[in-house]
């Protein structure tokens, strides 16, 4: 690795970690990942129990990997081979814990200054004031964490972590409890701060809206493994695993079995488990021993009120509407075609087609709107 010669790679975080950890329902899982994170936002996405927090804890030094190496630029934080393991206090890792862990007996200012013990008094005051101003909490410097709002606490925790100028910032689902407006304001301030300082920010979330909103880069974690990595656009448009599919907004995910391949047409036929419904999907190499899933976005499905003819789409499925529900400007229709599909429509479409629960409809799905997913193991 030529990290020393390239200034762009100077602050990159390289992580190779193997560790057994306690998954949900106290099953034992193993984390086995290897990736690099560069300056800017990287989203670490995964369902709960995928090992996201364990991974952050390993980078911060709160947990010790069974094996691997963790480095920021030239500095090795952990190396199982040379038995190097820096204590958390010497890693310069800013870590926003999910619970924030503000010190309840200290004021906002004392919290922010806590990590600046090495500086002299005037410098400490100047630096903390500057950071508190960047995160708009200078006006509440003398209040205690119990006396400020949830969003303000998030800001204090951010300021406290960043005032020490860490070389990497880890955020463990810090903003999940906040309303959208508060959240986007905090994110704006964090973004503004990061255009100045440019450090790697590893942002853990299981909220897929965060991914497209924040990520310059996304790493998808599933049961301890990295199943996809890259710019959000690329990852979301070629989903291969179920976690990515949920992330990409696949409201319809069906267990399937491949029953026939048509290499000359570039398609194969899949039967949806528990039904007699066959759909045509793109031909991909699949491992027959693993379960196969097909994901379809609810917005990619067309609805016709009469049997359509002369279509290029290969999948035309007859069914009955079981429920219609309006949420904002989207009408969510559940359609029973032998398997239940979720379809998103506009309220206008619902009106012009006069759709009601019980209406007979035909769903039209292009072959290339069917995404074949396979779990990595």
């Amino acid at each position: 690795m030529s990290a020393s010669t390239s200034p762009a790679l100077d602050g990159q975080v390289r992580v190779r970690v193997r560790k057994c950890f306690q998954g949900p329902s106290s099953s034992s899982l193993s984390l086995d990942v290897s990736f690099a994170v560069f300056a800017g936002f990287t989203i670490l996405f995964g369902a709960s129990g995928a090992g996201k927090t364990t991974l952050l804890d390993c980078i911060a030094g709160l947990q010790t990997p069974d094996e691997g190496q963790i480095a920021i630029g030239e500095t090795v934080l952990f190396d199982s081979q040379s038995r190097r393991n820096l204590s958390p206090s010497r890693r310069s890792v800013g870590y926003l814990l999910q619970s924030l862990a503000l010190f309840p007996h200290m004021t906002v200012q004392q919290n922010v200054q806590y990590g600046l013990a090495a500086l002299d008094k005037s410098e400490r005051a100047a630096r903390s004031l500057q950071t508190m101003e960047s995160f708009r909490i200078a006006s509440m410097a003398q209040r205690r964490p119990s006396e400020i709002s949830g969003g303000e606490r998030q800001r204090v925790a951010l300021a406290r972590a960043l005032v020490t100028r860490p070389r990497v910032l880890l955020l463990d689902e810090p903003l999940t409890a906040l309303d959208a407006v508060t959240k986007s304001r905090i994110v704006d301030d964090l973004r503004a701060w990061n255009t100045m300082c440019r450090i790697p920010i590893l942002y853990v979330t299981h909220d897929r809206e965060d991914v497209s909103a924040l990520g310059e880069n996304v790493i998808v974690l599933e049961a301890g493994r990295v199943v996809a990595q890259g710019p959000p656009h690329d990852v979301l448009n070629r989903p291969q695993s179920e976690t990515v599919a949920q992330l990409a907004g696949f409201e319809n995910i069906f267990e399937c079995s491949a029953i026939g391949a048509h290499p000359e047409q570039g398609t194969m036929t899949c039967r949806i488990a528990g039904s007699a419904l066959d759909i045509e999907v793109p031909l991909v190499r699949v491992n027959a021993s693993l379960p196969l899933r097909v994901g379809i976005r609810a917005g990619d499905i067309l609805v016709a009120s009469a049997a359509p003819r002369g279509l290029s789409a290969r999948n035309v499925l007859a069914g009955t509407i079981t429920s219609l529900q309006q949420r904002g400007v989207t009408v969510i229709a559940k359609v029973d075609c032998g398997a239940e599909f979720e379809v998103h429509l506009t309220p206008g479409a619902r009106q012009s087609l006069q759709l009601e629960p019980g209406s007979q409809v035909w769903l039209v799905v292009k072959t290339y709107s069917c995404h074949v997913l396979q779990n990595s193991g």
């Binding site: 911060a60 030094g61 709160l62 204590s87 958390p88 206090s89 010497r90 890693r91 310069s92 890792v93 800013g94 870590y95 814990l97 619970s99 862990a101 503000l102 010190f103 309840p104 007996h105 806590y114 990590g115 013990a117 090495a118 205690r144 964490p145 119990s146 406290r160 972590a161 020490t164």
Partner: protein, 224 residues
């Protein structure tokens, strides 16, 4: 009676001060250590709660007596034996009141959110700084309780003092021994006054302790 009272108070002050210095690191270790044999130390610390004071007193007497290596070493160093002296009482009382200091401290340390300690370390703080700035301030109610309880417990102890110190006025005769002495000589009136003094003293201490814990906002730091 004044002589016995000042001796008792002197003993209680010295013992609770030693227990504060000894109890803090011990409680900290018991709370946060991941040593496997921690349970063993926990059992030893709690032993004086269940052990008859005479048993504890007997073993301490043997241990500090001129026949044990420790007793001989102490005698060679100071020229006198620990047994039946005020210093001997201090040693015995420290052991006897140890759980009353350590347990409240450990209980309040263990109620501190571990994430706060992680956060402190992540901000570059040493274990020492984390103790002084986070653990001690947040565990203060328990530390205070441990201090007052060990003080009050030392005021009232009897069996251990009798075993180790005997009953020497001015040297080892505490108020509780004095009461016993007065009852033995059938002087009930004086015994009543002495007993009442100790009762009022201990009751006042505990009232102040619980009153403080209740009113003075020990819990203002908690929020959810």
């Amino acid at each position: 009676m004044i002589e016995a009272l000042t001796l008792t108070l002197r003993l209680a002050v010295i013992v609770s001060a030693i227990l504060l210095a000894l109890g803090l690191p011990l409680a900290y270790w018991l709370t946060f250590s991941r040593q496997r044999w921690k349970f063993f130390v926990e059992a030893i610390v709690s032993l004086p709660i269940v052990l008859p004071p005479t048993v504890l007193g007997f073993y301490v007497l043997v241990a500090i007596g001129p026949l044990s290596p420790f007793g001989r070493w102490y005698q060679a160093l100071t020229g006198h034996s620990l047994a039946f002296t005020f210093d001997g009482l201090v040693v015995g009382s420290v052991l006897y009141s140890l759980p009353f200091a350590v347990q409240p401290m450990a209980a309040s340390f263990s109620s501190i959110d571990r994430k706060l300690l992680d956060a402190s370390a992540l901000l570059g703080a040493s274990g020492w700084r984390t103790f002084w700035r986070i653990v001690l301030p947040l565990g203060l109610p328990g530390v205070f309780t441990g201090f007052v309880l060990s003080f009050a417990h030392t005021l009232g102890e009897f069996g251990v003092v009798l075993m180790i110190g005997g009953n020497i006025p001015g040297a080892t005769q505490t108020v509780s021994i004095l009461i016993y002495d007065q009852v033995q000589s059938l002087d009930y009136a004086t015994a009543n006054r002495t007993a009442l003094l100790l009762l009022v003293l201990c009751f006042t201490l505990l009232t102040v302790l619980y009153g403080l814990r209740r009113s003075s906002g020990w819990n203002v730091w908690e929020w959810k």
